[in-house]
Amino acid sequence: MKGITKGLAHTLRNMSKKKMSYQYPDEPVPMPDRFRGIQKFYPEKCIVCNQCVNICPTDCIQLTGKKHPDPDRKGRIIETYDINFEICILCDLCTEVCPTEAIVMTNNFELADYSRDELFKDLQWLDENDTNVREEN
């Protein structure tokens, strides 16, 4: 009986304790700066080095490049850049290898959609995803 009484006292005490609920959809849950959310892509920074494609463990990144339109400048610029968020696991490896920080993480994480097709994000979408961009990379 002693153990049961102690248990009852414990639950009663907890009744007035601070509640742990997040008011999630009403109030956004603050995520720390390092949080790995949906990537933001800077097309102007990309040098089409293909390192992110190579490191991606799930092969969810596809990119194509083209020659720089200005004939005096060497190198290539990005033409298309797609991330398939059906299989992206937000592992952070692409941002880690990127030498120019053209691809960085943001704190946005809400990816739910009504169709799978919506999860296929292209260059334009990733460029416009410019809120809550992570500072350290």
């Binding site: 049961i4 248990g7 009663l12 907890n14 009744m15 304790k17 601070k18």
Partner: protein, 335 residues
């Protein structure tokens, strides 16, 4: 009460039948109202004890319409029935489970004037009728043609039978003191001292056995979620499921009211506080009991079936017997 007796003696007819039906409506609405808010209260109490808020969306900050919404959802849900189920029994089971729970409410006296039937053997009636619900659960378990449901049904039958006995035995003490099986008289006998003080052992036995009868934690084996998924009502959906839920909470209402009447002195005020109306006194005592049931549910793990049987037969029953002897001796010496 006079007109009630006249009505009972009047010849049967359609008009009488409709009068009877209309008379039950207030009880039904009170009970349904209670059930609605008891479910909400239970979820709130559990929530607050578990560091959550409980329902807080439907119907304002306190989720006041949550249960209403839930019941509406159950009403419009598809009524599924397993293909190999025993059809007539499957349909009958929720009714068998629910009707007795409502029938027992007739004898509970809330105050001296607010009561529905003042029959001489009210206590016996209550216990006898409430035992019928087990049949409903067993039927549900059998008719669903589901192994988990069958196990739940068997468990519930075993549990109900073995806990009905200590429950009754604990009552004998009260009956000895009051000298009556009439619930109103039992309350009147407690004008000065509620029986919880004279019968502490009896009260504890009755409370434990009542928890078991109500299928509530720690005795919720028939519907043990982690073992039997939901026990006897695993195959039920929609309104049939709602009937089982309803039966469970109506019994919570009935049992708490019965304990209030038997042990806490019913509507009798604490001496010196008589200016508060009787019905409020009843409500306060009743609410405390309901809270304790919820509190116990938030705290305890589930007991094991074989230990449950052992506890019922080897501990509760002998103690209840002892309680009868003690009560008899007390009664002989002091009263």
């Amino acid at each position: 009460m006079e007109w009630m007796m006249e009505l009972l003696k009047s010849p049967p007819g359609l008009s009488n039948l409709s009068t009877f039906l209309i008379l039950t409506l207030p009880v039904l609405s009170i009970v349904l109202g209670f059930v609605t808010y008891a479910i909400l209260a239970e979820r709130k109490v559990l929530g607050y004890m578990q560091l959550r808020y409980g329902p807080n969306r439907t119907g304002g900050r306190f989720g006041l319409l949550q249960t209403v919404a839930d019941v509406l959802k159950l009403l419009i849900k598809e009524d599924t029935r397993p293909k190999e189920a025993d059809r007539p029994l499957f349909i009958l089971a929720p009714v068998i489970a629910f009707v007795p729970s409502f029938m027992v409410l007739a004898v509970i006296p809330y105050t001296e004037s607010v009561m529905f039937a003042n029959i001489g053997v009210g206590l016996l009636y209550f216990i006898a009728i409430s035992g019928l619900t087990t049949v409903g659960m067993l039927t549900a378990g059998w008719a669903s043609n589901n192994k988990y449901a069958l196990m739940g049904g068997m468990r519930s039958a075993a549990q109900m039978i073995s806990y009905e006995i200590p429950l009754l035995m604990a009552l004998v003490g009260v009956v000895l003191f009051a000298g009556s099986l009439n619930l109103v008289e039992i309350v009147e006998q407690q004008q000065y001292i509620p029986y919880i003080l004279l019968q502490p052992i009896g009260f504890i036995i009755f409370f434990i056995a009542a928890t078991a009868e109500l299928n509530r934690t720690p005795f919720d084996l028939p519907e043990a979620e982690s073992e039997l998924i939901a026990g006897y009502h695993v195959e039920y959906s929609g309104f049939r499921f709602a009937f089982f839920m309803l039966a469970e909470y109506v019994y919570l209402f009935a049992m708490s009211a019965l304990i209030t009447v038997l042990y806490l002195g019913g509507w009798n005020p604490i001496i010196g506080l008589g200016f508060i109306p009787d019905l409020v006194w009843f409500g306060i005592k009743f609410s405390i009991l309901v809270f304790v049931f919820m509190w116990v549910r938030a705290t305890l793990p589930r007991i094991r079936p074989d230990q449950l049987m052992e506890f019922g037969w080897k501990v509760l029953l002998p103690v209840a017997m002892l309680n009868i002897f003690l009560s008899a001796i007390l009664k002989e010496i002091f009263f």
